[in-house]
């Protein structure tokens, strides 16, 4: 250990105010006459400043770790006994019906829509034009004019793979055509988020293959697919704006 080492070993304690008054005074006296130790002190101050700055610079993991967490907490949750009141069950049923109806309404392709999804102003009768193979129950079977409720009843499940994949493909195509209207930062955000969602979907599928009865994973997969669709719709809408 050199004479410099004896002093430099005290510099961290000096910077952290961990020295007794007498030691502190001795270090300061040495620093006044020693450029080498003063330089080390400056370097250590820079290191500390960089560390403090790093505290605010956090980065998410490259992989979506949520699926692994969700699978484990689902196994923890299963032994719990959960009970609901009749009123809660009725409220849940109404909510599920409303959400399902909303998803079907959004996912029914509209012939006039570039992204393949229904506009909110699309008339229910256009469902038959979009799906010519389906019976128009409202008009042909019951003699009534078709309404929104009929459309939901005819089309059934909305997140079937073929229908979902077609909607995603249409949106991706529309986004590809319109990406020139977006700035590079927005494109980067969209692509990064799509990549994350795709990873989540892939991991959820993989986890479900190993644990097909896991209801939480099923819900997670549906939610991830819905997020992808929503992100694509929002991004595509940006390309339509002037």
């Amino acid at each position: 250990m050199t004479m410099h080492d004896e002093w430099t070993d005290k510099l961290s304690d000096y910077l952290d105010d961990e020295l007794q008054d007498s030691e502190r005074a001795a270090v300061e006296a040495h620093l006044r006459g020693c450029p080498a130790c003063s330089a080390v002190l400056n370097d250590l101050q820079r290191v500390i400043a960089r560390a403090q700055a790093a505290a605010g610079a956090v980065h998410p993991p490259q992989n979506d770790l949520w699926v692994g967490v969700a699978g484990r907490i689902d196994r923890i949750r299963q032994p719990r006994r959960v009970s609901f009141t009749v009123a809660q069950l009725a409220a849940a049923a109404v909510l599920i019906a409303a959400v399902s109806g909303g998803l079907v309404w959004q996912l029914v392709p509209s012939p006039g829509s570039p992204n393949g999804l229904r506009n909110e102003t699309t008339a229910p009768g256009e469902v038959a034009q979009a799906f010519p193979g389906l019976p128009e129950r409202g008009t042909r079977e019951g003699g009534r004019s078709a309404g929104a409720g009929d459309a939901i009843g005819i089309l059934g499940v909305s997140l079937a793979d073929d229908q979902y994949d077609a909607a995603v493909a249409d949106l991706e195509q529309a986004l590809k055509q319109g990406r020139g209207k977006l700035d590079t930062a927005t494109i980067a955000i969209v692509e990064q988020n799509l990549q994350t969602i795709d990873q989540a979907i892939a991991q959820a599928r993989e986890a479900l293959a190993a644990d097909p009865a896991n209801s939480y994973l099923s819900g997670h997969l549906v939610e991830a697919r819905r997020r992808k669709l929503d992100l694509l719709r929002r991004a595509t809408a940006l390309t339509d704006m002037d």
Partner: protein, 182 residues
């Protein structure tokens, strides 16, 4: 034309913690997504890339299990951070190499000598932290990045304050060497 961020998610933080504590897994996912970047950064800095993913998952599973104990006496982020540090330290202890890593080893000063070659200074700094010997790295991250005091670190790591100070100085000198390219 830009896409808005996830401010809506952040705005529901308190509600989500309460819902998650009551067993709502969807609310807990929102809690996870709000905090995962900070927790993963902590584990990556303290343990390295290869263990960060697994330990981050362990932390959030533990969080789910212990959420009922969170009383709101401190900010949730503070509570979560403390829990995360404890899980990281448990992981280190499970390897039963704590004492060896805490031993003073002057030759370790030669381990980190490569000057930063990349322009991105933040990445360089993170890279330099990763190259620190594990014992010095833990204390450097806890003290200089996360703001813990030596006496807190001594309790967390079951070492003396003097050891914590020596390891911190050792880490800083290694970081200095790296950053100045000596």
């Amino acid at each position: 034309m830009t896409l808005s961020g996830d401010t809506a998610i952040r705005g529901g933080m308190n509600d989500d913690v309460a819902l998650a504590a009551a067993g709502d897994a969807f609310a807990f996912e929102r809690v996870y997504r709000t905090h995962v970047a900070r927790i993963h950064s902590l584990t990556r800095r303290m343990l390295g890339n290869h263990e960060a993913d697994e330990v981050t998952q362990d932390i959030f599973v533990r969080t789910w299990q212990k959420l009922g104990q969170f009383r709101g006496d401190s900010a949730f982020s503070t509570w979560l951070h403390r829990l995360a540090v404890n899980v990281v330290i448990e992981r280190r202890r499970s390897f039963a190499i704590q004492r060896e890593r805490m031993a003073d080893d002057p030759s370790a000063l030669d381990l980190v000598t490569v000057a930063p070659a990349r322009a991105d200074l933040i990445v360089d700094f993170e890279h330099a932290i990763e190259q620190l010997p594990p014992g010095a790295r833990e204390i450097f991250v806890l003290h200089d990045v996360e703001g813990y005091k030596h006496r807190e670190i001594a309790v967390l790591l079951d070492i003396t304050s003097g050891t914590s100070k020596r390891q911190l100085h050792r880490a800083r000198m290694l970081m200095r060497k790296h950053l100045s390219g000596l």
